[in-house]
Amino acid sequence: MDGADPMSQSKPPSHFTPRSLRALRAKAMRRPEDFAATFPVTTLEGLAAAKIKSGDPYALRRTKKNTPKVALQLEYDMETALYAALDSNELSRYAEALRRCWSLLGIAKGDRVGIFDYGTSPVSYLASSTFTPYLQRGAADILGCLPICNDGAANLSQRAVEIVKFVRPRVMFLRTDCLHPFTAEISRGSMPLSSYVDTLVAVENEGVLARAERDAYQAKLGVPIYRLMRADAAMFLAPECHRCGLFHLWSDLYHVEAPEPQTDRETGRQASRLVITNWFATSCPTIRYVSQISACLQPPGCPADARDLRISA
């Protein structure tokens, strides 16, 4: 299986090995058009159908026979639950993705980081090895930060405000569906948020907070709000950059396509649903997963890191 050209035929994800994935990645970088032509896309609906038909919680994507160290139920509202399987190496690479997000957002050694999201969100469980079994080093361990997670239920907004008041995190990550109740609590307490927190980061799975909405909250709360793109089915994370205003992504971790762009009638912008391939997911490979995120690719060249590929959304 390893000797065969991974580009010569489309294999189901369960047939991939780490070595063949590396070879695939090399080929995809050299001949991306052939990669797209060779491999069919994976959709959420397809994963759900495969799971229902087979009874396999990993939708027949699992490459290994042994039990994964960590199986995570994903945040999708489908007719059946979907899962990701991760071993220690994958957890480490995924945590590295979060670490890069934190670094781009300006988080550094000694900072306190608040997280208003469920413990089952990668934004939470990748933050620290103390939070997740078999994660050797989370983003906070690598950078030397102190994280606190609030859980993600919107009615816990008052607790999130307590975190702001007493922990004063430099950066606070929060779910976009918690932005409104959080803002209401801040307003109720007449708190000058900028005295406590430098930055908020709005996070959503398979979506991005619209710019206009972000700007409105930003004006109301008086602190910069950046956005973090997530697509959990592909274990994908991409942060918005404060310098260039685009989302950065890393070619050693992901391959992202934006095929068949459509013009948005309201904004006039060209955008496609991002198609994501994950290069570190070896237990449940994700090859050409069609996300719900509408965006378009931009060339590298940000002053923060000129090597990073970028997405505008």
């Binding site: 919680p57 039990t67 994964p68 160290k69 960590v70 199986a71 995570l72 139920q73 994903l74 945040e75 059946t80 639950a81 899962y83 050694k109 000694g110 306190r112 997280i115 469920y118 413990g119 089952t120 939470s124 469980y125 933050a127 620290s128 090895s129 103390t130 939070f131 997740t132 079994p133 078999y134 906070a140 361990d141 690598i142 950078l143 030397g144 930060c145 102190l146 994280p147 606190i148 997670c149 609030n150 859980d151 993600g152 239920a153 607790r159 307590e162 975190i163 008041k165 007493f166 922990v167 004063r168």
Partner: protein
């Protein structure tokens, strides 16, 4: 894992003779006392204010003179300092710990859980999971990762034992019960660690799906529950309904208490490697002997992270006088409820747990939610709000309840029935009468 090897890894420590255990605990207590006074401003101020000198503690009896403090004082320190660093913790190097929160009626406080703390506490807790049957290679359903201190310990437990885990999406609120049931059906964990109120929510979800709970749990060998006290009858009824081999209960709090059931289910063994428990008369502050109920006062023996030393949890509990048949030397204890949930009725102190023990002599009422109604004025009789059980005639049940309450407590009782306990009171064991009247006239 080697980097944070547990300071105490004695496998047989739970079978040490009592005198050896006491010597160990005295050494550990003196060590945390010294550490607290030297390193932690809260305790320096607290001891100096009480003119207490830690070095004078030479015996366990001396330790009983260490000034006690409550959540109210911890919160005062937090508010005075306007920081999570209330003086009960020394932060390790950046990246060497996390913060967690605990919330209650008085407010929210913060705990610093260092990696050293997590390693010691987690290695200790692993013993309880082994008692409950968790083994290398087993798959465990883990609830509430990241934000709850139990999950921080379970992270270590799983690595120590070599178990794998499945984590359902969401959190332990009833609306996420479908996710938990899906995870149990799909990934088939053999071991489930869960909060008791959430387990009831899972049962309700099984009924909603018209699914036999035993079918949903058919791959589950054992369940470890925490978060609310189970009566012996509740445990047996749950075990039967779920079809699992056993259900173990744990008591604990992030401030330092760990007490877990062994397979004999005769009470909860205090984990004497990590905590020291006293039962104190809240009126006098004096120690109460085994068998007498009082406030549970705990001291963590781990000199890392947030340190709670002679902390009055304001929970009502008891150290049991009898030894366990397992012959482990770690004493047994029970915790019944929050002290604030005690009602004074006709001169007696009534705790919801005792009422439940009484109600559950009626098979129809096992695991049926209920609450006590508390009046602001003097109470001469007991008021109950009970969710209608699926079987049984409520009028006849009401008569039998009156008889049982009179026999057990010598009190009259009025039972009101509800189709379902109102959402805002689900899981609440005491409802204030004025709130009840405001809603129901």
């Amino acid at each position: 894992m080697r980097k944070y090897a547990s300071a105490v890894s004695h496998k047989e420590m739970d079978r040490w003779p009592e005198d050896r255990l006491k010597r160990y605990q005295l050494r550990a207590l003196r060590r945390v006392l010294r550490y607290a006074y030297q390193e932690l401003p809260f305790y320096r101020e607290h001891f100096d204010k009480a003119s207490f000198v830690p070095d004078k503690v030479k015996t366990l009896a001396d330790f009983a003179r260490v000034p006690i403090f409550t959540k109210k004082e911890a919160l005062q320190a937090l508010r005075q300092k306007k920081s999570f660093q209330a003086g009960l913790e020394r932060l390790d190097a950046p990246g060497e710990g996390v913060l967690c929160m605990t919330s209650g009626t008085l407010g929210t406080s913060f705990l610093y859980l260092s990696k050293k703390w997590a390693a010691i506490r987690g290695d200790s807790l692993a013993r309880a999971y082994r008692w409950a049957g968790l083994r290398r290679g087993m798959r465990m359903l883990m609830a509430a990762p990241a934000w709850h201190s139990l999950a921080v310990q379970e992270t270590r437990v799983m690595r120590r034992i070599g178990a794998t885990c499945v984590i359902p999406w969401g959190t332990f609120l009833p609306q996420y019960a479908p996710h938990f049931v899906d995870a149990i059906l799909d990934v088939k964990p053999a071991f489930v660690s869960i909060f008791l109120p959430m387990l009831y929510a899972l049962l309700a979800e099984c009924r909603r799906r018209e699914m036999n709970p035993a079918h949903a749990f058919k791959n589950v060998e054992a369940i470890l529950v925490v978060g609310a006290p189970m009566t012996p009858r509740s445990r047996l009824a749950l075990k039967k309904e779920l079809g699992v081999a056993d259900i173990f209960e744990g008591l604990g709090n992030p401030e330092g208490l760990t007490a877990m059931e062994c397979p004999f289910h005769a009470g909860h063994h205090i984990f004497a490697d990590c905590c020291y428990v006293e039962i104190v008369d809240p009126a006098t502050g004096l120690l109460l002997p085994a068998g007498q109920r009082g406030n549970v006062v705990i001291t963590s023996l781990i000199p890392h992270g947030s340190l709670y030393l002679r902390y009055d949890t304001e929970d009502l509990g008891v150290i049991l006088p009898d030894k366990c048949k397992c012959r482990r030397s770690w004493p047994l204890m029970e915790v019944y409820d929050r002290r604030s949930n005690t009602l004074r009725v006709a001169g007696q102190e009534i705790v919801p747990y005792d009422v439940r023990l009484c109600l559950e002599t009626l098979p129809e009422l096992v695991n049926i939610p209920f609450a006590l109604i508390r009046s602001e004025t003097k109470m001469d009789s007991l008021g109950l709000l009970i969710q209608k059980p699926p079987t049984g005639n409520v009028k006849q049940l009401g008569t039998r309840i009156n008889g049982l309450i009179r026999e057990k407590f010598g009190l009259d009782c009025r039972a009101d029935w509800a189709e379902e306990l109102p959402q805002r009171w689900k899981g609440v064991t005491v409802i204030e009468e004025k709130d009840w009247r405001a809603t129901h006239g």
